[in-house]
Point group: C2
Chain length 240, copies 2
């Protein structure tokens, strides 16, 4: 754990969600191997999860560059799902397709997330600051037991990270200066974008985001205010 932060100046901690708070890959695989296998769909769910997530950044970039008008993440996921179902030769009813699309509302937290957030909540405003939409994040919060104080989703700002509007918009809507907000994420690019705009930055190392056999390399943390390996360590670094 490294920390070079004056905790008293931080009022809110905002969190990247996919990969940082929840294990999107493990959750999709788990639901595939239980619920969907019981419905007769027996595929390589790890490959399916990776394929779906692989379309995430290109789809958002179409919105960021103006190629697509504003489209929320549920709708982007749905657009990617159609060709993926064809590719894996899966036939689903429209109702089942909708239900599968909403697996992103049913992601499980990493084992330390809820406990660490509960500690952080005693001293700081805690909120997701995610490219997910508000409904997705709200349903996920209930499903995974995440005690958010409020929910900041991309459509509130009508921009996707790493657009500056998201980070600066979060500080503004919370009534805070950028320097009073700490961006917490497992991804260096997210933190670099936030840090450039004056937000504080906390890196949480999540080596298993891409699966157990494919350990994610640790980012260069020298430019971040805090670097930890769990949300419990984050709470300790922020003196709660």
């Amino acid at each position: 754990m490294t920390s070079k932060i004056d905790q008293a100046s931080v009022k809110a901690c905002v969190f990247d969600v996919f990969g940082t708070v929840v294990d999107w890959r493990g959750s999709i695989i788990a639901e595939g191997q239980s619920y969907w296998r019981a419905k007769g769909i027996d595929i390589d769910w790890a490959a399916f999860a990776d394929g779906w997530r692989g379309g995430y950044r290109p789809a958002m970039n179409k919105v960021r560059t103006g190629e697509l008008p504003w489209t929320n993440l549920d709708a982007l996921h749905r657009m990617q799902l159609e060709p993926l179902l064809q590719q894996f030769n899966i036939k689903l009813s429209p109702e089942d397709t909708d239900h599968l699309n909403r697996v992103w509302h049913r992601l499980h937290a990493w084992p330390d997330s809820s406990k660490g957030l509960t500690r952080l909540k005693t001293r700081y405003v805690i909120s997701p600051l995610s490219n997910g939409n508000v409904a997705l994040l709200t349903n996920m919060g209930k499903f995974a037991g995440l005690p958010w104080d409020c929910v900041l989703g991309a459509e509130i700002f009508r921009h996707y990270k790493p657009d500056p509007e998201v980070y600066l918009g979060a500080a503004a809507i919370l009534g805070l200066q950028p320097s009073e907000v700490m961006m917490c994420a497992a991804h260096g690019g997210d933190l670099q974008a936030a840090g450039k705009l004056g937000l504080r930055t906390a890196y949480i190392y999540r080596p298993l985001e891409r699966g157990p056999g494919r350990t994610v390399e640790r980012a260069d943390t020298s430019t971040f205010d805090v670097a930890v390996e769990s949300f419990e360590e984050l709470a300790a670094a922020l003196a709660v």
Copy 2:
């Protein structure tokens, strides 16, 4: 208690806040008579609270009619506070004025609010749907122990109730049909506006909103789906 609702069709309960969830008048009086009296300001805090709240609707209407550009409730409260301080002959530093303005972030809940919300949360998405701004509602939620799943404040829609954009915007951002959302409020006008747009409506009778000596008349509840006298009764009416 009256109820004519199919509970299974309701997915989210959204709440008016000032008067419905929290006792704005009693809270301002209480802070005045303790914190501010200790600082030497000894005025009729009930009259002060009533005067401040009296400017609420006219100020919002200036935004609703376009006379003012979008202005959040913290800023509207601050605009009303300046002449009020003069009227009551109170001199405050800028820091103290800011602190007093944020008394709206420190309102106490009615005794049944937190308990009822905690029950409702087990089955429904619960959120404020208030003319307050997100920071105000988030800070108030922490202060008063309100277990919101997410926080929907007016600036997300850039409209004030009873503009339709707020009610329809809430359903849309929650990913729901209007008929799946129940508007819960102590004020008939709020519910009538919501009901016209297809939302479900729950009336909570709060006779003490204007103070103990001035019992608020009960609205005609015949057109509302549910009418109750507390949040615990609301939970019971909604089968939790």
